[in-house]
Symmetry: D4
């Protein structure tokens, strides 16, 4: 099956069905494949999002599409040609969140700085899909005053994404402060008995606090997408957001 | 520590903080403990929900509170003394869902009849919290036409709860049909290499479809609570529902 | 090997070597075996402690030693014939802790009421060995204000025992509040992906907070013994405690 | 043991016993070893199949046997000197399947494009052994219409091979559409809680649909061989195929 | 949901789609449920098969359908009202296999006598679906002469089912003797490190011999169904069998 | 988030709360990050400790802080500008322990020479925090006379750290010789069924000897910190040490 | 298959091939089955050994064979009608070992009293097969002086069986004292993270001491059989023993 | 700790205690360390054995000891300066086994050619310790005639080492042919659900055949050492061998 053939499988219809064009999962794809697929998608859609890529993929795509942006810290690559009132821009998470005119409020919290790439993947995903996003870093449970200092912001969210590796305790703590849904994202951060994220995953599945559901280890993208759908549901009259 | 002491730990304040009084997890508590705790709660709140109990617990509570209702198939016990426009009634899932005047729409799907108790726990939980709920049973992936026959109802939901044991494939299938959040609930239904629900849990965490987050094995209550929070968020002007 | 033979293996010398007579692990022993062993030990020592027993064991021992006391909630059986200034008494954890004239301070925290039996096993063990012990129940991370309300007591401890099932997050939270050692005890409380305490065990081993070491699932006794050794070390001039 | 010695262990008799000469598993063998073994086999047999090799192995063999063909995408190397009515040719899966004059019908389905190498290994294996094979790619359960669009082809198969990673749900879906045997092949595609293919393997072993049996993770070759034996059994009068 | 409701989910159409009416999995169903479901099915079909039931289920069904037969050793219950040329009868595996006029040949081998219930479930399933079945018991690998003594019968099969617990080695041994497909069934027979069948399951998935695919632990029914489909495929002109 | 931003998260207040400045976990940080963070910390504190770093990190830091010391064998980097009566110095574990004027006594034992890096991380951590530390290497259980030869030193400790990989048996052996707390550290040393330290971890959690608590696999730092807190508690009048 | 049929599978020839008649594994067999099989075997052989049975099995056999003996503590049942110079007798392990005239020396050590049943199964097995056996109980590693007190006996053995649960450390300790083979038997004794014997099993497989091989969890019989074959090999001129 | 220090831990006394000087486990040691340790040992002993090393280690040692020999295929390095009647020589397994004047008979069997390195490690270990060794390669269970062709040799052994990866079935097969002890060695050969040797390890622990004990995954050395101790026990009058 040649590379061209594989374009046949792109799901051009997804934007209509699901509200955002198909997102490309870059892991395991070559720079050439990513560049070709993204170029094909941008012909049809105004915005393209690619996750889990490296500098090499970014270079390959920029040669074809000079307006592609690469967020190195979390391996996100995107092209945004939408109208200005929804377009995002920037090459760091901070810049992108600042550029957003998104609606509602998604708050992303993460426990340690090593969890940041996953948290940023989640934040940028929700942001590019149209949510207003705030990111609070380094609020691990070992210093409980840190999350409490952000309590007002936390409680203003319509949905929270909580990212943590190691013992994965942060979602339970945060869930006790709010009554909105929490998307918990275990990360593979840790060593020894963290078993590549299993410890955090199990902790989150067993959260004693209400409102917590869980996605796969390191799946920042999935969490961002779900959070956006909760924050800005399509069934809602948008004037109210 | 005497039994009375343990009342001190009841969280009477939760209704204000989280929108619904503390729910009692009955597993591992004696009938007497459950009856005492529930009676204490109903003094303060208008509605009390207890999950994972048996006939013996129901009998013990009914002696103290004659208006308690027991849903045997899924082990739910409740007392509802709210005003009529939100009050539910009945002792089967069907009756309860029919009695509801809830808002929005939560749809609960389950794969096999053995998954029904978990699905009903989810449905009744969301319903008693104030959501309008529909339950679709026996739509496993091995007969794909079954879920497709319900496509319209599925697509009318603001959030779906998908319950499945064994290979846990149903959430991926459903997620491909909608663009709203899916709460996936693995069940311990199965034998051999289902490992008490691990097979279904792993499948759901690895769902290739967007929008799926997961709760603990057999955690119908948790799924129902999250779904209600997504379906009828407190930040939303309720007139619009 | 007859039952009498097995007495030969009792380690009568342990009190001198380790500061407290050998403790009997009751699980898997018959009431008769426990009664016989305990009676043999009390001939030589002034105090005997037996863990993990049921009502039947207590009855069997009381027939031989009428001053034996049974703490039903956590399955502890003991005989204390020491001089009054160290002797404990009572058949509930509360009574025993109140009767103690122990030194220093051990604080035991537990997350949920179902964790109480393990927490009480730990508290009574440390108490009978000679420590002053406080027990704080129901301070799970989902209501962070609860542990913060006890902050002064927590910070007055020389060592803490933190008991938790499910996601096992409490030790990390507590460890962030103090600079003394924390003994974390995972419990088998939970269902589904708690895997009989594995989730809590892994979380505790991966604690991001300093000062946390871990014992086996449900091993309240072990935690109590270690805590006592830290709180009242034999190398310390006792006048200073 | 010298390299020459190891030829003694080649099973030259297998073609007579099992209908096709011994297939060489290339993983862990050096290019030189593969080239030597394949050259030894082609002296005795008209066709040689080698799986799991890289470009280096292909180069080494082509130096000795210039008519060797390498299918890079799935790491298959083969020499086919059989008579023209059964001989296959080509260096892509598509070419090989097109060149075949095989009998009956084997249909290979795979969920995602990253599953393609395993699916191609299965397809080429069945094809070179003498089956007519069709390959349907990218029909994952998240877009159920995709497999339904191929329903006629799926139902024309005598046996199906269904290849999927991640949640491994596709075999259950396909099995509900047909009444012929399904060989399910879990792949190691995925991350986090896919655990290198365990999630897909468990899902397939727990399939709620009838007719599904499973081979090892990534074992496309094994699936292809079994499918051929089901599609074109030696006990069947071949005129009827 | 009342019991009557659940009839709505019976798949009466399966016989046409898949060649045999829906089979009832009895595990977890009450005697009353099984009796009711089977009675409903036999109104529409000429033959009904129920697996994993106990004496109590058999008694309940016989009260409603006096011609139901129960095979106690493997927990199979069936009603066969087909015409005499395909009808089976008897209450032991031996009697049933002897009563069959099935076509082709399925051979079932099992390693130890404790594996017999699973082997019989497989044999009776294939037999009632229309295959001619032979069962060879107690041919474990520790006495290799035993299976070799049956070599002629083994080699006459169109498909083999090989059932084994503990180390699960028998499928590899048998697969070396034939060139037809092998369905391997791991059983939960064993103790300690057999982990309820995991050891046998892993061994079978890793079989070094060609042609082996695997079903779930103790899934004799699944193996029998697959074997029948391979032995007597619907695409085959039946005169040739 | 720029690198400078991440300084905001450094916990400058920890020295006051917990008795020693925040320790930097180097694994996963770049040389530049480590150098920048350590330089920032040394502005505020008199001593900085960094664990799990390589030669490259050491070089980067030394360019900024020429008095940084690197202990290559266990990957520890530190700057110590405290007054001479507590300052340590040296670039091997031996030198550092010899330079210490610490109080009390911590004894670190390890089973094999491959366990030495973890043992040294523990020893240096406790030493730099202010404990007097002795390290006994190569006293594995397979030569029991070796640990017995050190019995006097072992029994003079206020707390022991016991480091072992493979079967992890040493803590049980040592715990039988003393009545002070044992911190057991499993290491990832081993192969095959050691599963990266799981075998040792499980053995230690199941120790039949009293007084043993456990930290994460390879977590020498954690063990050293806990041991120091037990050996030199802040509640103790320091004149007595 | 009737019960009589299953006799056909008894391996009457094993005594000639393997030096001792087939041993019956009682677990999962009914009292009637065990009584029938043993009676059949004793017709042909002079000695019959049955393991893993309960009182009920013993009663059933004694009704048929009044000279059957039952060792309740380890669930062994045997009939010995050999000539007096090899015959054993007694109903406790102690009596049987004392009655033996076996050759060479097998020493069985076990860690705790709860490990005794497995140790006795091993000891009696080796003894009835013809070895001289000594059993040393309660020599766990937590009191190392205990095994050292038996050093002379330990070093006089030709082979040792070392039985231990929990952390499974004893085999490594013993292996350091001798240069003969050690058969290590993990037991399921323990709780929590012992995982039914997995902790001990892994520890033994990872023993740092030479000469240790391992059998399945609780497999005392297997260890006894292997030890006998090492202690009294058939290739050895028996006069020399 | 300097490198010289670590010599202090070499166990020079082991040769007297255990019959052969300490063997060096090379994995994780640098070429320089191995060369230094081996040179130190050869000063005291006449023979030195090092396992798990690479070409680099061999080169480093040969510079210091020109008579060192390296067996590349299995990573063994040795120096043999014993008297000619026991000395071995050669750089392949075949040469070494041929050069041996060892006593008794050890037979090593392995399933596949990829298992050869482990089998050779076992064979050379037993050989250098003084056993006569035969090695039979490529006798996997999938071609049962292969091991049966060697039946006479197999049955002449005093002890067998059976090496297998993947499904690990060979030990059970071989154990059924003999009545001497079998040392089973699982290898990490395989992929997918072989889990690095776990599948083979579990299969061997669950062997239904008598006489099989197991060592760690890939532990050829351990198996060789045990086999030698069984084949040529020190308690045996050596004239009889």
């Amino acid at each position: 099956m040649t590379q061209l053939d594989s374009f046949a499988t792109l799901d051009f219809d997804r934007a209509r069905r699901c509200g955002f064009p198909e997102v490309v999962f870059g892991l395991g794809k070559t720079p050439e494949q990513v560049a070709a697929i993204a170029s094909k998608l941008i012909e049809v859609h105004e915005v393209v999002l690619i996750t889990r890529v490296t500098h090499a993929h970014a270079t390959a795509l920029k040669e074809l599409q000079s307006d592609a942006s690469f967020v190195e810290n979390c391996g996100i690559l995107y092209i945004d040609r939408r109208s200005e009132d929804v377009r995002i821009s920037g090459t760091t998470c901070r810049e992108i969140l600042a550029s957003s005119k998104g609606q509602g409020k998604v708050v992303v919290c993460c426990a340690g700085t090593t969890d940041l790439p996953v948290a940023e993947e989640a934040a940028i995903t929700a942001c590019i899909m149209g949510s207003h996003v705030n990111l609070i870093a380094d609020v691990g449970v070992a210093g409980v005053h840190r999350i409490l200092n952000h309590q007002e912001l936390v409680q203003s969210a319509r949905v929270l994404i909580v990212v943590a590796g190691m013992e994965g305790a942060l979602p339970s703590l945060v869930a006790g402060l709010v009554d909105v849904p929490i998307i918990a994202v275990p990360t593979s951060v840790g060593y020894g008995a963290s078993f590549g994220g299993i410890a955090a995953l199990l902790a989150m599945l067993n959260s004693c606090a209400g409102g917590v559901s869980v996605v796969n280890i390191d799946n920042g993208f999935g969490a961002g997408q779900i959070a956006h759908r909760i924050n800005a549901p399509r069934w809602l009259d948008l004037r109210y957001n």
